[in-house]
């Protein structure tokens, strides 16, 4: 892992412990006869067990990167390798967590969390469901349908469903964007607790600078469309982070500066 100097494009260090490597990813969409470039020359490597935030303005294409990494979309150029294999489609070892929209409305909390466990014996499946219901604090709501849950509870159902299949990677696409600020803070610390306990590799897309600096080992700052990696900032503060410390604020200001927003509000 290297933290590249300000302003220069990232040159990822290629190490054998790389979980994920993106090489020269480019993406263009055909529209109205023309071709719109959304991503250009994305090179990135992520270590096993690392927590990486992709940070950028809305619509910059960071979700597209995540969709390419998860195998839902094929890139126009370049390739993504996970554990050395080229990604060619979605895989249960790497779960994509949508905002609460991905919860199935026709299944109960239990049914949703157990959705990926169809290969397990019923007893083991029940045990696993109960474990993850408790992990996300939804005891008592096992039989409830999503329509009776708040946004934060649905979000926790999604996270529990993803964790229940014991993936080694999680892709989170602005997972807490639709939540109120209190629930969002709780969910962030929940996610960190789970990440510290289970050490999964997490790639987390957000447009919230504070969220990125609070959570990530490294923040990948994206430029506006077509998205390029503008800067990679290592957040070398151990958890739990003191978000009023001088070092924290310095890193945060550095990111604001990279985006070109420092002290302008």
């Amino acid at each position: 892992m290297t933290s590249s100097p300000a302003g220069t494009p990232a040159a990822p260090a290629v190490a054998s412990s790389d979980k994920l490597r993106a090489d020269g990813i480019g993406m263009a969409f055909e529209r109205d006869g023309g071709s719109i470039s959304v991503l250009e020359d994305i090179n990135l490597s992520v270590r096993d067990g690392e927590f990486v935030c992709l940070l950028g303005p809305s619509g910059c294409g960071k979700s597209t990167i995540l969709n390419i990494m998860a195998g839902f979309v094929a890139p126009t150029r370049g390739e993504v390798r996970i554990d050395g294999e080229v990604v060619s489609g979605p895989d249960p070892r790497r779960i994509f967590v949508f905002q609460e929209r991905g919860v199935f409305p026709w299944l109960t909390v239990e049914g949703n969390i157990g959705f990926g466990l169809f290969q397990l014996a019923p007893a083991e499946r029940q045990r696993r469901i109960a474990h993850y219901v408790a992990l996300v604090g939804l005891q008592g709501f096992e039989k409830a349908y999503p329509r009776d849950l708040s946004g934060g509870m649905k979000q926790r159902v999604e996270v529990a469903r993803a964790l229940a299949v014991n993936p080694d990677m999680l892709f989170l696409d602005e997972p807490f964007g639709a939540l109120d600020s209190i629930t969002r803070l709780i969910m962030r610390s929940e996610l960190l607790r789970i990440w510290e306990a289970e050490r999964k590799t997490i790639i987390f897309v957000t447009h919230d600078i504070d969220e990125a600096v609070q959570l990530a080992d490294r923040v990948i700052v994206m430029s506006a469309r077509p998205a390029r990696i503008q800067r990679i900032v290592s957040i070398d503060i151990p958890h739990p982070r003191d978000i009023s410390s001088r070092h924290y604020l310095g890193l945060r200001d550095g990111i604001l500066e990279a985006i070109g927003l420092a002290h302008k509000v």
Binding site: A70, F72, G89, P90, D91, P92, R94, I95, F96, F98, R101, G102, F104, P105, W106, L107, F115, G116, F118, V136, G137, F141, A144, Y145, P146, R147, D148, L149, S150, G152, M153, V165, I186
Partner: protein, 276 residues
């Protein structure tokens, strides 16, 4: 967890009255439509009595007509005959039309190929098929069943097709992400996702099927409620039996609708109507 959540209920619920009054409420809720029906029957009776020329038999004549049919054992026999035809025609249409619609909606290329055919066939009344049905199946049950099949097949196919087309992509992606392939994806994601739309389609086409069986029985067979109506008129202008047949058709149609509507309250289906 440091924070406890309550079930968030932002939808306004009906005001709940004191338990002592709840049974009373239930009685009122039942009495209201019943008393309205009684009022209509009385109005019908009075209107017929005031009229000199026989335009319509009164409710009493119709009632005794129903009793007469029941005594002769025809009422039950004809109701069963009509329901038998609807059941088979409708089930065959559902068994073929729903999978066809789902796959056509899923594979865009199939939709491009089949959609023109569906759009041409759709405006043709199922009754226009009567001569062809008789040509193929002769006079008998099969003809009536075929007509019901024709009447409900296209609405079901089109509903299933459209329902698949509007499934949010995120559900399909979640299914694929958890490793579901073809059949499993169909049963665990596509099928439950389209159920709310499908139940509406099933309800509409059951109504159509029940209308078509009456018409089919007037022409193609010699039993059933449709036959009963034609037969009562032909065999001595028994208009009391004609109206008795109409009343039975209406009541059974209502019961079928209530039956299929109960599906709309199943929790794994009712989510699709939550924004009413």
């Amino acid at each position: 967890m440091s924070v406890r959540y309550n079930i968030s209920d932002e939808r306004p619920s009906e005001p709940v009255s004191h338990p002592r009054y709840q049974r009373f409420d239930a009685v009122v809720r039942l009495l209201r439509p019943l008393s309205f029906v009684a009022l209509l029957l009385i109005a019908w009776h009075v209107a017929v009595r005031l009229q000199k020329a026989p335009i319509l038999p009164g409710p009493l004549a119709v009632g005794s007509g129903l009793i007469e049919l029941a005594r002769r054992g025809l009422l039950l026999k004809y109701v069963v005959a009509s329901l038998f035809r609807v059941t088979w025609g409708y089930l065959a249409a559902a068994a073929l039309g729903i999978p066809l619609g789902l796959s056509v909606g899923w594979y865009r290329r199939a939709e491009l190929a089949l959609n023109p055919w569906i759009q041409v066939l759709r405006p043709i009344s199922p009754l226009a098929w009567i001569p062809i049905a008789i040509l193929w199946f002769g006079v008998g049950d099969l003809t009536a069943i075929f007509l019901i099949f024709v009447a409900s097949f296209l609405p079901l196919t089109v509903t299933a097709m459209n329902a698949v087309a509007i499934i949010p992509e995120v559900y399909v992606n979640v299914g694929r992400n958890f490793g579901l392939r073809r059949t499993a994806l169909l049963y665990n994601v596509l099928y439950p996702a389209v159920m709310p739309q499908l139940v509406i389609g099933l309800r509409i086409s059951l109504g159509i099927a029940w209308m078509v069986v009456v018409a089919a029985e007037m022409i193609a067979v010699n039993s059933g409620l449709g036959f009963m109506i034609v037969d009562a008129r032909n065999a001595g202008n028994r208009y009391d039996l004609v109206v008795a047949g109409m009343v039975m058709i209406g009541i059974i149609g209502l019961l079928l609708d209530i039956g299929i509507r109960s599906l709309e309250r199943v929790p794994s289906i009712s989510w699709g109507y939550s924004d009413d």
